[in-house]
């Protein structure tokens, strides 16, 4: 309860600061849109040269991409921790976090949130509706609930992976820039995993389970029954990965070395 109240306090605070720099806000939303457009263009250009991608049609791939955008938007709104190492470890800002009576990771989530990324979810849903229409997908009353469940699961998968990467800073002394590279890998979950060979498929399913942010849950709505099992695993994998990341985080914080002065 307390955490929810605090969450809204921070959101209110965030709105106030953001509204002061409205021009920035637009540039940011615009660059998000651009980013989404680039990925769509990629798909469109590719399908200019082929009709099927490993047995999947253009609209199916676009639908997966649309779905992917929704958990991804949630993730990028709340898990803005790609520069965790520089900001909180090297500069020692974690000191401040640790003297406050809220869970440290939650505080960082609150401090670093970028709510404008939520617009990505709107784009995503629009893309899904467009592709779904082309495909003539049916709609049942359970869909919104499952959609919600899968989206949360996907966000937790993403969040869990990136929190785990952030945790490396607690153990490794040297700086790393794995984080930006990981953003690339995250993209491969958007394509049907059956086009990859078994190693990559395994990695995307169990090690860095990005497939649970895109192709697996989206398969459910596309009626690809052979993947249904994986679709329903989405929230489970999300919870498991996120829990692991929290446990790792908590033990990492105990090893925090501080930054001198």
């Amino acid at each position: 309860m307390f955490y929810i109240a605090i969450f809204f306090q921070y959101v209110a605070q965030y709105m106030k600061t953001r509204m002061q720099y409205r021009a920035d806000l637009f540039v940011e939303i615009f660059s998000d849109l651009l980013f989404q457009a680039v990925n769509l263009i990629f798909i469109l250009v590719v399908f200019g040269h082929t009709n099927l991608l490993g047995g999947w049609t253009r609209d199916e791939i676009i639908f997966i991409y649309g779905f992917f955008l929704v958990p991804y938007a949630l993730f990028s709104s709340f898990f803005n921790i790609w520069n965790f190492n520089e900001r909180y470890i090297v500069k020692g800002e974690l000191d401040r976090i640790l003297t406050r009576p809220i869970h440290s990771l939650f505080q960082i989530v609150l401090e670093r949130m970028e709510l404008e990324s939520l617009f990505g979810a709107v784009t995503g849903i629009a893309v899904m509706i467009y592709a779904g229409n082309n495909l003539g997908l049916g709609f049942s009353w359970t869909d919104p609930f499952l959609f919600f469940l899968f989206v949360i699961g996907g966000m937790l998968v993403y969040g869990g992976i990136f929190v785990l990467i952030a945790c490396i800073s607690f153990w490794a002394d040297a700086r790393t820039s794995i984080m930006p590279m990981m953003y690339n890998i995250g993209n491969y979950g958007r394509y049907p995993v059956d086009i990859y060979n078994s190693v990559i498929r395994f990695v995307l399913t169990w090690v860095l389970p990005f497939a649970f942010v895109g192709v697996y849950p989206a398969s459910y709505f596309l009626g690809k029954e052979e993947w249904f099992l994986y679709s329903f695993l989405t929230p489970v994998i999300g919870i498991v990965f996120f829990s692991i990341s929290i446990v790792t985080w908590n033990s990492g914080v105990k090893r925090y070395r501080g930054a001198g002065n």
């Binding site: 000191d95 640790l98 003297t99 406050r100 009576p101 070395r257």
Partner: protein
């Protein structure tokens, strides 16, 4: 009376990586790296009672900030026991930090982009402070620290002294019974320093707040703390009253004379030959300084002898300052 802080055999070691020099060294670092283990805080034990104001001093790198970070739950000790406000800071961190306030002079605790009062509001919620508590307590704090006009400015636009006063106020929002201050007066002007000192005294009086303070400005300590804990290379080398530190290591008194007639060092040495005194002459100002043991009788005898023989213009008796005492200890060690 319970102890606010109990520390037993506390130790913190850091791995210090050393880089080899030059490009070739850097490549070798790529494969293996040299490090040694440096004890920043080495087996210290002490206790602080509720309501005490303790000065925590030591040279740069002595381990003061490291101790404070362990006491506030930021760092986990390598070994040893810490109990603060009856809790282990690293165990129930979230519960524990509600009972303390922290100010790091070198680093801002406030949110950089938002106005000071917004930071306060947020902290008020974070620490679950009710409106009544906040109003009765903070209006006073804000008045005493004179930060009313700063409240609507973003932190990044404040000067150092202005920010420091806000930081202090922010650390007190939940009126904690224990306050840690790491170099709170660094870089501040005399007036702000005085204001902060007065304020600290006041809250100590009013709420019996325990304060542990590190500083390099010994006048802070003299103004505030009866007790000092002195740290050197991670070890406590003195723990006790500031007064007895002076008595123990104060190296006697200095008496400055100015004469109406021409006097040489030889004259003075002759006159005071029977007592143990060392004379020095400041050539420019014609001031003669006698260094003598801090013994009232000896000093009055010395003055009597000089006055009897020579015409004196001015006499000034000086105690060795705390600053000098500390400097001597840093220089030579305590033995």
């Amino acid at each position: 009376m319970t102890d606010a802080i109990t520390v037993r055999n506390l130790k913190k070691e850091f791995k210090a990586y050393s880089s080899r020099s030059g490009l070739k060294g850097a490549f070798r670092d790529l494969l293996t790296r040299n490090y040694k283990i440096v004890p920043a805080v080495n087996n210290i034990s002490f206790q602080v009672k509720q309501g005490e104001m303790v000065g925590y001093i030591g040279e740069n790198g002595a381990g003061k900030s490291t101790t404070i970070k362990m006491l506030t739950g930021i760092l986990t000790p390598t070994s040893g026991e810490v109990i603060v406000n009856g809790m282990n800071p690293h165990k129930d961190r979230e519960k524990f930090v509600r009972t303390i306030g922290v100010v790091f002079g070198q680093r801002s605790q406030l949110w950089w982009d938002i106005a000071v009062q917004e930071s306060f509001r947020l902290l008020k919620k974070v620490y679950k402070v009710t409106d009544e508590q906040y109003d009765s307590h903070m209006s006073h704090v804000i008045k005493t620290l004179d930060i009313e006009p700063l409240l609507d400015k973003p932190v990044r636009k404040l000067s150092l002294g202005q920010r420091m006063r806000c930081e202090l106020a922010a650390a007190l929002i939940h009126n904690p019974p224990l306050l840690f201050l790491d170099e709170p007066t660094i870089g501040l002007d005399v007036l702000v320093k005085l204001k902060i000192r007065e304020f600290l005294k006041e809250i100590n009086d009013k709420y019996n707040t325990t304060i542990l303070l590190t500083t390099h400005d010994l006048s802070d300590i003299e103004a505030l703390c009866e007790r000092v804990v002195m740290l050197d290379e991670g070890k406590i080398i003195y723990d006790g009253a500031l007064k007895s530190l002076k008595e123990k290591w104060g190296e006697g008194k200095e008496i400055e004379f100015q004469f109406l007639e021409d006097v040489t060092l030889n004259d003075l040495n002759r006159i005071t030959a029977s007592s143990e005194v060392k004379w020095e002459k400041d050539e420019k100002k014609a001031i003669f300084t006698a260094f003598a043991e801090d013994n009232d009788e000896l000093i009055s005898l010395l003055i009597a002898k000089v006055v009897a023989d020579l015409k004196v213009k001015d006499i000034d008796i000086k105690e060795t300052s705390t600053e000098e005492i500390i400097r001597n200890i840093y220089d030579r060690g305590i033995s």
